[in-house]
C-alpha cells in the first residue's frame, strides 16, 4: 500500500459504481407496472404525503445547515493563539473548508435519503401489483428498491469522504462532513420517528380500537399518514441513521490513524485504511445484493439472511486478500473481522427477543391474559434482559479488537475503531434489507386500500413478515455499531484535546468528571422522554382530528365519503418538525455548554455517561418495543383468545406503549450519542483553550 492516494481514487470509483447501480435499479423499478388506476390513486396519496414532509424537513434542515455552517466558518476561521493572550489569527480557508464539509455531509446524506424515499413511494404500488403474479417477482422488485437506498447511502458517503480527503488531506475536515451527516440524521430519525408513531397511534386507537375498522382500511382518516410514516421513519430516518454511523466510524478511525505515533507515510496509510474497508464493503454488498433472490415457493426471510451472510463472507475474503497483498498491519484484518462477526451475532440475538417463535414473545403473550400491567412488566423486563447479549458482544468486541491490534503492534484504540468500521462495512447490504421492510409494508397497505385480491394480501403478508425480522436485526446491528463508533470517537476526542496541548484527566476521583458523567448519563433518558412526549402530544391532536372526521361525516364509515387524509398528514408533519427544537438543542447545545463551562475533562465524563446510558436505553427501548409488537401479533394469530379477547386488549396497550419506544426514542439514541461525540471532537480544540472553570 505504497501509494495510499490510489486507494482513495479506488474508493471514489467504488462509490460511483455503487451510485450507478443504485440509479440503474431506481430506473428499473420505475419501468415496472404501476398497476390499476385505483392502486395508483392510493399510492399517490402516500407519495404526496411523503414528498410534502420531505420538503418541509429539508427546508428546515437547509436553514439550520446554513446557520450552523456560518457559525462553523466563523468559529474555525478564528484560530486562537493561546487562551491567555486572547490573540487570534484569521484563517478563513480553514473555516470555509469546515463549513463546506458540514454542509456537504448533510447534503450527501439528504441525497441518499431522498433517493431512497423516492424509490420507496414508487416501489410500494409496483410491489403490490407484482404480488398479483408471484411472490418472487414482488420480492425482487421490493428488494431492488431497498437496494437503491443501501447503495446510494454507502456510495454518497464514500464519494463525499474521499473527495474531501483528497481536497484537504485532513481527517479533521472529514469530521465536519460527519457532523453534517449526523445533524441531518438526528433530525430525520427523530422527526421521522415522531411522525410515524403519531400517525400509527392515532390510526390504531381511533380506527381499530374505538371504531373497529381493520388496519390499512381506507375509511381511516389517519391511514395515509400512517403509511407515509413508514417511509419517513423507516426509509429516510433509518437510512440517515446508518449513513451517520457509517461516516462517523470511518472518520473516527481516520482521526485515530492520523494521530498514531508513526512516520508520515504510515500516518497517511492508516488514515486511508477505513476508506479501503468501505470500498471493499461496497463491492461485497454489490455482489451480495445481486445474489438475493427468491424462487417461487421459497420464503423471503432466509433469502435476506443469506444475502447478509454471503456479503459478510465476501467482505472477509476481500479484506484478507487486501491485507495479504499490501503492507497493512494484519491486525486490521482481525479487528475488522471481530467487529463484523460481533455485528452479525448481535443482530441475530436481537431477533431472539422479538421473534414470536421464542420464549420472550410467547411468555409476554401468555401473561397478557392477566391484563395490560403484567404485559408491560414482562415486556419491559425482557427488554432489560435483551441488553445483556448485546452489551457482552460490545464489550467482547472492544476488548478483542483492542488486544488483537496491540498484539500486532498497532494502537489498541485504532483496532476498536476498525472493528466498528468492519461492522458497518456491509451497510450497503444491511440497509437494503432494512429498507425492503417499509416498502412491502406499504405495498400491503396499498393492496388493502385498493381492494386487491386476497392472494395479493397473503403474498404481501409473507413479504412483510420477512421485513419485520430484517428490521429487528438492523436495529440491533445499528445500535452495536453506534456503540463501537462512539468508543472510537471518544478516543478521537481525547486525541484532539491532547493535540491542543491539554492533558486530559478523566478520572472518577475528579468532581468535574463525576458531574460530567451524571449530566451525560441524564441526557439519553431526557432525550427519550422529550421525543416520546412529542409523540403523545401530537397523537392526542391527531386522535381528536380523526374522531372529529368520523363524528362530523358519518359517510366516511359507510364508505360513501372520502376522509380528509391531507389534514392528518399535515398535522403529523407539522407536529414532528416543531417537536425537534429541544431534542436538537440537547444533542448539539448541551455538550458545548458542558465543555465551555466545565471544561474538557468534564466533557469527557459527559460523553462517557451519555454513551453508556445511550446504548443501554437504545437496546432496551428497541427490543422491548419490538417484543410488545410481536406479542400482540402472536395473539392475533388466534393464541390466548385471539383478536378481541382480553389478552389482545392488554397486548394492544403494550404495543401502543412500545410504539414510541421502538420507532421514535430507541433508534434516535444512536444518532444522539454520535452527534454529541462529533460535536465534542469538532469543538474540542476550542473548548480546550476556552472554558469557564479551570
Amino acid at each position: 500500500m505504497n501509494n495510499h492516494l490510489t486507494w482513495v481514487y479506488i474508493a471514489i470509483v467504488a462509490g460511483i459504481a455503487s451510485m450507478a447501480v443504485a440509479l440503474y435499479l431506481y430506473f428499473w423499478v420505475l419501468k415496472q407496472d404501476p398497476g390499476t388506476e385505483r392502486a395508483q390513486e392510493v399510492a399517490s396519496w402516500i407519495k404526496e404525503g411523503s414528498n410534502a414532509y420531505l420538503l418541509k424537513l429539508y427546508r428546515s434542515l437547509g436553514i439550520l445547515a446554513l446557520i450552523i455552517g456560518v457559525i462553523i466558518a466563523v468559529v474555525f476561521g478564528v484560530q486562537p493563539e493561546t487562551a491567555e493572550s486572547g490573540a487570534v489569527t484569521m484563517i478563513w480557508r480553514e473555516g470555509l473548508i469546515m463549513a463546506i464539509a458540514f454542509v456537504g455531509g448533510a447534503v450527501c446524506s439528504g441525497i441518499a435519503g431522498f433517493l431512497g424515499m423516492r424509490v420507496a413511494v414508487e416501489a410500494n404500488v409496483r410491489t403490490a401489483t407484482a404480488a398479483n403474479f408471484s411472490l418472487s417477482k414482488a420480492f425482487k422488485l421490493s428488494f431492488n428498491a431497498g437496494a437503491v437506498l443501501g447503495l446510494a447511502m454507502v456510495g454518497m458517503a464514500v464519494i463525499g469522504m474521499s473527495l474531501l480527503y483528497l481536497w484537504t488531506g485532513s481527517a479533521e475536515a472529514v469530521l465536519g462532513f460527519s457532523f453534517g451527516a449526523s445533524t441531518l440524521a438526528l433530525l430525520a430519525k427523530a422527526g421521522g420517528g415522531i411522525y410515524t408513531k403519531t400517525a400509527d397511534i392515532a390510526a390504531d386507537l381511533v380506527g381499530k380500537v374505538e371504531v373497529g375498522i381493520p388496519e390499512d382500511d381506507p375509511r381511516n382518516p389517519a391511514v395515509v399518514a400512517d403509511n407515509v410514516g413508514d417511509n419517513v421513519g423507516d426509509v429516510a430516518g433509518m437510512g440517515a441513521d446508518i449513513f451517520d454511523s457509517y461516516v462517523a466510524s470511518t472518520v473516527a478511525v481516520m482521526l485515530l490513524g492520523a494521530s498514531m505515533g508513526l512516520s508520515q507515510a504510515d500516518h497517511m496509510k492508516y488514515t486511508v485504511v477505513p476508506l479501503v474497508l468501505c470500498l471493499l464493503g461496497i463491492f461485497a454488498s454489490l455482489i451480495g445484493i445481486f445474489l438475493v433472490r427468491v424462487k417461487e415457493g421459497q420464503k423471503p426471510g432466509p433469502a435476506l439472511n443469506r444475502g447478509t451472510i454471503i456479503t459478510t463472507i465476501l467482505f472477509t475474503l476481500f479484506l484478507f486478500v487486501f491485507v495479504c497483498f499490501t503492507d497493512v498491519n494484519p491486525g486490521v484484518f482481525w479487528a475488522a473481522l471481530t467487529g463484523l462477526i460481533t455485528g452479525v451475532i448481535i443482530g441475530f440475538t436481537s431477533d431472539y427477543f422479538t421473534n414470536d417463535e421464542q420464549k420472550p414473545v410467547k411468555e409476554t403473550s401468555r401473561v397478557s391474559t392477566s391484563g395490560s400491567a403484567i404485559n408491560i412488566i414482562t415486556g419491559y423486563s425482557y427488554g432489560l434482559i435483551s441488553i445483556v447479549p448485546s452489551v457482552i458482544g460490545i464489550a467482547a468486541a472492544t476488548l478483542i479488537s483492542f488486544h488483537v491490534a496491540e498484539h500486532f503492534g498497532m494502537s489498541g484504540i485504532y483496532g476498536i475503531g476498525i472493528s466498528a468500521v468492519g461492522m458497518l462495512s456491509i451497510s450497503g447490504m444491511i440497509v437494503s434489507a432494512d429498507a425492503y421492510g417499509p416498502i412491502v409494508d406499504n405495498a400491503r397497505g396499498i393492496a388493502e386500500m385498493a381492494g386487491m385480491d386476497h392472494e395479493v394480501i397473503v403474498r404481501a403478508d409473507e413479504l412483510d413478515s420477512a421485513g419485520n425480522t430484517a428490521k429487528a436485526i438492523t436495529k440491533g446491528f445499528s445500535i452495536s455499531a453506534a456503540a463501537l463508533t462512539v468508543i472510537a470517537l471518544f478516543a478521537a476526542y481525547a486525541e484532539v484535546v491532547e493535540a491542543a496541548g491539554v492533558d486530559l484527566a478523566i478520572s472518577l476521583r475528579e468532581p468535574l468528571v463525576v458531574a460530567g458523567v451524571f449530566l451525560g448519563a441524564m441526557t439519553p433518558p431526557l432525550f427519550s422522554a422529550l421525543t416520546m412526549l412529542s409523540v403523545t402530544h401530537n397523537a392526542f391532536d391527531m386522535i381528536e382530528e380523526v374522531r372529529r372526521q368520523f363524528r362530523e361525516e358519518p359517510g366516511i364509515l359507510a364508505g360513501t365519503h372520502k376522509p380528509d387524509y391531507a389534514r392528518c398528514v399535515s398535522l403529523a408533519a407539522e407536529g414532528a418538525l416543531s417537536s425537534l427544537i429541544l431534542p436538537a438543542f440537547l444533542a448539539v447545545g448541551l455538550p458545548l455548554l458542558v465543555g465551555f463551562v466545565l471544561g474538557p475533562d468534564a466533557l469527557g465524563g459527559f460523553l462517557g455517561g451519555a454513551i453508556f446510558t445511550g446504548v443501554i436505553f437504545a437496546l432496551l427501548m428497541s427490543n422491548a418495543g419490538g417484543l410488545w409488537d410481536n406479542a400482540k401479533k402472536y395473539i392475533e394469530t388466534g393464541k390466548f383468545g385471539g383478536p378481541g379477547s382480553e389478552a389482545h386488549k392488554a397486548a394492544v396497550v403494550g404495543d401502543t406503549v412500545g410504539d414510541p419506544f421502538k420507532d421514535t426514542a430507541g433508534p434516535s439514541l444512536n444518532t444522539l450519542i454520535t452527534v454529541m461525540s462529533l460535536v465534542s471532537s469538532l469543538f474540542a480544540p476550542i473548548i480546550a483553550l476556552f472554558h469557564l472553570i479551570k
Binding site: 373497529g212 383468545g641 382480553e646
Partner: protein, 254 residues
C-alpha cells in the same frame, strides 16, 4: 322501489327498509347522523309475510324516499315480542354485520349438526341473551327451551349460536383453555364440569352476557327455532370466508 323486511336481533325488531341487506347492515352498524353504532345481526324476511300482530302495510306506506330523493333507511314496525310472531319459513337469509359495517350473508341448510356426546356453549341472542353451557346438542337444547313441559322457564321462539369450546368440549377438567377468548375461565370450566358430572343438563354461565358475538368463535352456525321447527344457518369456514369475502374476514378479526 323494493321494500325489504328485516328482523333484527339486537334489538329484537321488525323493520321495513328501502336499503339492500348490505346497505342496511352498514347503516345499522356504523350509524347515521344519530351516531348509533355497533355489531348487527338480522334476518331478511319474506317481504310478503304478514301477521296480524304487525302493522306491516302501514309501515310499507311510510317507507318512501326522503324529499331529497335518498332512500328511507328504516321504519320500525315492532320492537316487542317480534320473533315469536314470525313464521320461521319466512326467514330467507341471515346477515352478520361487523362493528364497522361489513356484512356476511348466511343461507339456511337442512343438515343440522347433531353434537351428541360433547359439551356445548350456547350464546342466546333473542329474545333473551344469557350464555349457557349444556350437554345437549342444538336440537335437544331447543326442545328443552321451547317444548319442555316440566320447565318453568320457556320461551316460544329462540335464536342462538354455538360457540367453540376447543378441548373443553371433551375434557372440561383438564382441557386447554388458554386459547379461548372468554372471560372468567375458571367459572366456565366449573359450569362445564357440572353439566358433565351432575344431573343438570344445562347451566347458565353468564345471565347478562353481551349479545355481541366474536364471529370467529362461532363453532358451526346460527339456530332459530320454535315449537314447530328448527332452522339452521351454517357459518362458512374461515378459509371460505377469506376466499369469498375478504373484507368481512378482516373486519370480523377472523
Amino acid at each position: 322501489m323494493a321494500i325489504h323486511l328485516y328482523l333484527s336481533l339486537m334489538p329484537e325488531a321488525l323493520i321495513a327498509s328501502m336499503l339492500s341487506p348490505e346497505e342496511f347492515g352498514t347503516y345499522y352498524a356504523v350509524g347515521s347522523a344519530k351516531k348509533s353504532r355497533g355489531q348487527a345481526m338480522f334476518f331478511e324476511v319474506d317481504p310478503n309475510y304478514r301477521h296480524p300482530y304487525f302493522r306491516t302495510d302501514e309501515a310499507y306506506a311510510r317507507c318512501v324516499p326522503h324529499e331529497d330523493g335518498s332512500l328511507k333507511s328504516s321504519v320500525y314496525i315492532s320492537v316487542y315480542r317480534v320473533l315469536e310472531h314470525v313464521n320461521l319459513d319466512a326467514l330467507i337469509r341471515l346477515y352478520l354485520t361487523t362493528m364497522d359495517g361489513r356484512t356476511l350473508e348466511l343461507t339456511p341448510d337442512d343438515n343440522i349438526p347433531n353434537g351428541t356426546g360433547q359439551l356445548h356453549l350456547y350464546q342466546e341472542l333473542a329474545p333473551v341473551t344469557p350464555l349457557v353451557v349444556s350437554r345437549l346438542g342444538p336440537t335437544q337444547f331447543l326442545d328443552q327451551i321451547v317444548r319442555n313441559p316440566v320447565s318453568l322457564v320457556t320461551v316460544p321462539s329462540i335464536v342462538f349460536t354455538e360457540l367453540q369450546l376447543g378441548e373443553l368440549a371433551e375434557d372440561p377438567e383438564m382441557g386447554l383453555i388458554d386459547h379461548l377468548p372468554y372471560t372468567n375461565h375458571d367459572h366456565l370450566r366449573q359450569c362445564l364440569t357440572d353439566v358433565k358430572t351432575k344431573f343438570v343438563s344445562t347451566k347458565m354461565v353468564d345471565r347478562t352476557h353481551s349479545p355481541n358475538v366474536q364471529y370467529r368463535t362461532i363453532k358451526n352456525g346460527f339456530f332459530v327455532g320454535n315449537i314447530e321447527q328448527l332452522r339452521y344457518f351454517p357459518m362458512p369456514t374461515p378459509e371460505e370466508i377469506r376466499k369469498d369475502n375478504y373484507r368481512w374476514f378482516r373486519s370480523a378479526n377472523m
